[in-house]
């Protein structure tokens, strides 16, 4: 009970109420919306989830990772590979995927933090590891090489082996997103979370007041990697195929970062708001693109939208929205 109280903390009642209503709507969504909009919601929740995972490392601990696809890819490939070759169900396989991703995260983290790489240099290190792994998987036959790994699509819904349609995966990604949200909230209101914020603001000053900087950064990257790996597992079993070219690509790493950066780094609601904005824009531009019939026009609008957001709302959409809604700074 006190855990729940800690989670709720001093949140204003109207926020809790809104969240409650939102959750109820999301739970009922498959019954309320058609297949197309369900898939849009799934995409939105995916970005919200994976954005929150990334936000832990960047928004909370302040380390820019542009190679997060590494963890998603590892999680997906390991779990899918175990299922494909040995019939090991994903609920067990995910532990292996998460473990491998966590190890990868600790290697990247240790090398980066121990060698005092910051900012751009750290980001480049993360890119290098992700690219290196991409090429490695291109040549790893167990994982299907560059030709890809394909999971058999079953007609019947099978929760144990995560075979099934959109509804199953909708609830899974919803559960993951809600879980991540609660986890982030709990982390922020803990000593570890406060230490992360201090490190993000000024690591030297943090160390002077006793914050064990290296240890905290390592924990951040390991948690972030582990959570991202789960997204990879979900992805693999939902789309039923994996290619090194996409699973470990810079494109995937970048798309993981967009929702939190646009929504608002380091805030609780930022990645979620960002995911809504991004998916919304994506849908709007797809429709527009279909009307205009120019190749790449959707992406051009997308690029323009990103430009506008970074120029006029560099801190993200959520902080601005929160002020408009009259919310206190603290609750972000």
């Amino acid at each position: 009970m006190s855990f729940v109280r800690r989670l709720v903390g001093d949140a204003p009642p109207r926020i809790l109420l809104s969240l409650g209503v939102l959750l109820a709507l999301l739970l009922a969504a498959p019954a309320l919306v058609g297949k197309y909009w369900l898939s849009v919601l799934i995409l939105m929740l995916y970005f919200a989830y994976v954005g929150q995972a990334w936000n832990i490392l960047m928004g909370f601990a302040g380390q820019l990772s542009l190679g997060h696809a590494l963890y998603a890819g590892l999680g997906g490939y390991i779990a899918a590979g175990l299922y494909f070759h040995y019939g090991i169900g994903p609920w067990a396989g995910l532990f292996a995927g998460v473990a491998v991703a966590a190890i990868a995260g600790s290697i990247v983290g240790y090398l980066g933090f121990r060698f005092s790489l910051a900012g751009v240099y750290f980001a480049l290190l993360t890119i290098a590891f992700s690219e290196f792994t991409r090429v490695a998987f291109d040549h790893w036959q167990w994982a299907g090489g560059s030709g890809g790994l394909f999971l058999k699509v079953e007609a019947a819904t099978d929760i144990v082996n995560l075979r099934g349609g959109s509804v199953l995966f909708y609830y899974l990604i919803l559960a993951l997103s809600v879980g991540a949200f609660l986890l982030c909230r709990a982390l922020l209101e803990s000593r570890l979370g406060r230490y992360w914020l201090a490190i993000r603001e000024d690591a030297e000053a943090a160390q002077a007041v006793g914050v064990p900087v290296l240890r905290c950064k390592m924990i951040a990257i390991i948690i972030s990697a582990a959570l991202t790996a789960l997204a990879g597992v979900w992805n693999a079993f939902y789309y039923n195929n994996l290619f090194p070219e996409t699973a470990f690509s810079m494109g995937r790493s970048i798309e993981i970062t967009l929702a939190p950066i646009i929504g608002g780094l380091g805030t609780l609601f930022g990645p979620i708001v960002g995911a809504v904005v991004l998916t919304g824009l994506g849908e709007a531009f797809t429709d527009l693109g279909e009307v205009l019939h120019i190749p790449g026009i959707k992406q051009i609008f997308y690029g323009l939208a990103l430009l506008v957001i970074v120029m006029y709302r560099p801190a993200g959409v959520w902080p601005w929205l929160a002020r408009k809604l009259g919310l206190e700074e603290g609750q972000s």
Partner: protein, 243 residues
């Protein structure tokens, strides 16, 4: 809190051939307030950085209550009971005043609520209570200095290192800070070592003063003795008739 005794024994540091600090030794007894003075570039902050663990001395040792702390990481040294402020203040800008100090308090209090309580109490002592929800970024310089001291105090140190905490403060503000530090020292016995240029504060607070120049200790004594010491005058005024 009570105070710890600080011993520097033959401490030295060089940076790529430049000898920043050479063979500096002094002791600050538990519960005392001492000052470290000297012209700019004399090596005072380097000495602080060695005590606080930012880097290890190349020679000599630093001991706190007899235990060697030189070479430890800054957060371990904070564990041992050393708190420090920075010459150019380093607040957690994106966090509120209260949250800033809470980070310090979390060093000794495991729970966030307790830490916040302890932080609030310290803020009251330094006159920052009514600004506790303001973002640190929006504070004036004197308030930032107070915040820096509050945050260091929240870690419950036994030795407090203050690096030019009076710089930029008006004389009345200096007096307030001096009164606060004196009261703190008398009440808790906290050992304090100050780097200072503001002589008003040095005279009012320090029982003893260590003077460094070009990385070496050139004099040590009471403020009165130091103000008449020939070598000190030479260093501050140039080699001319003492005024």
């Amino acid at each position: 809190m009570s105070g710890a005794r600080l011993d520097l024994d033959g401490v030295g540091k060089h940076f790529r051939g430049l000898r920043a600090v050479h063979d500096v030794s002094f002791t600050v007894p538990a519960g005392a307030i001492h000052a470290l003075i000297g012209p700019n570039g004399a090596g005072k902050t380097t000495i602080f950085n060695m005590i606080a663990g930012v880097f290890a001395p190349d020679s000599g040792a630093v001991q706190l209550d007899g235990r060697t702390i030189s070479g430890l990481r800054p957060d371990r040294i904070c564990d041992a009971g050393v708190g420090r402020t920075f010459q150019l203040v380093k607040p957690f800008k994106g966090l509120s005043v209260l949250e800033n100090v809470t980070v310090g308090a979390l060093h000794r209090k495991a729970h966030l609520a307790e830490a916040r309580e302890a932080a609030t109490a310290i803020l009251s002592g330094l006159g920052l209570h009514d600004r506790r929800h303001q973002l640190a970024e929006s504070l004036t310089l004197p308030d930032r200095k107070r915040l820096e001291v509050a945050r260091a105090l929240a870690t419950e140190p036994k030795l407090l290192l203050l690096d030019e905490v009076m710089a930029g403060l008006r004389p009345t503000e200096v007096d307030v800070m001096v009164a606060f530090l004196r009261e703190l020292n008398q009440r808790t016995g906290l050992t304090i070592l100050l780097i200072e240029h503001v002589m008003r504060a040095v005279m009012a607070l320090a029982a003893e003063v260590v003077v460094v120049s070009y990385g070496e200790k050139i004099a040590q004594g009471t403020p009165q003795e130091i103000s008449r010491h020939q070598a000190v005058l030479d260093v501050y005024l140039g080699e001319q008739e003492a005024s």
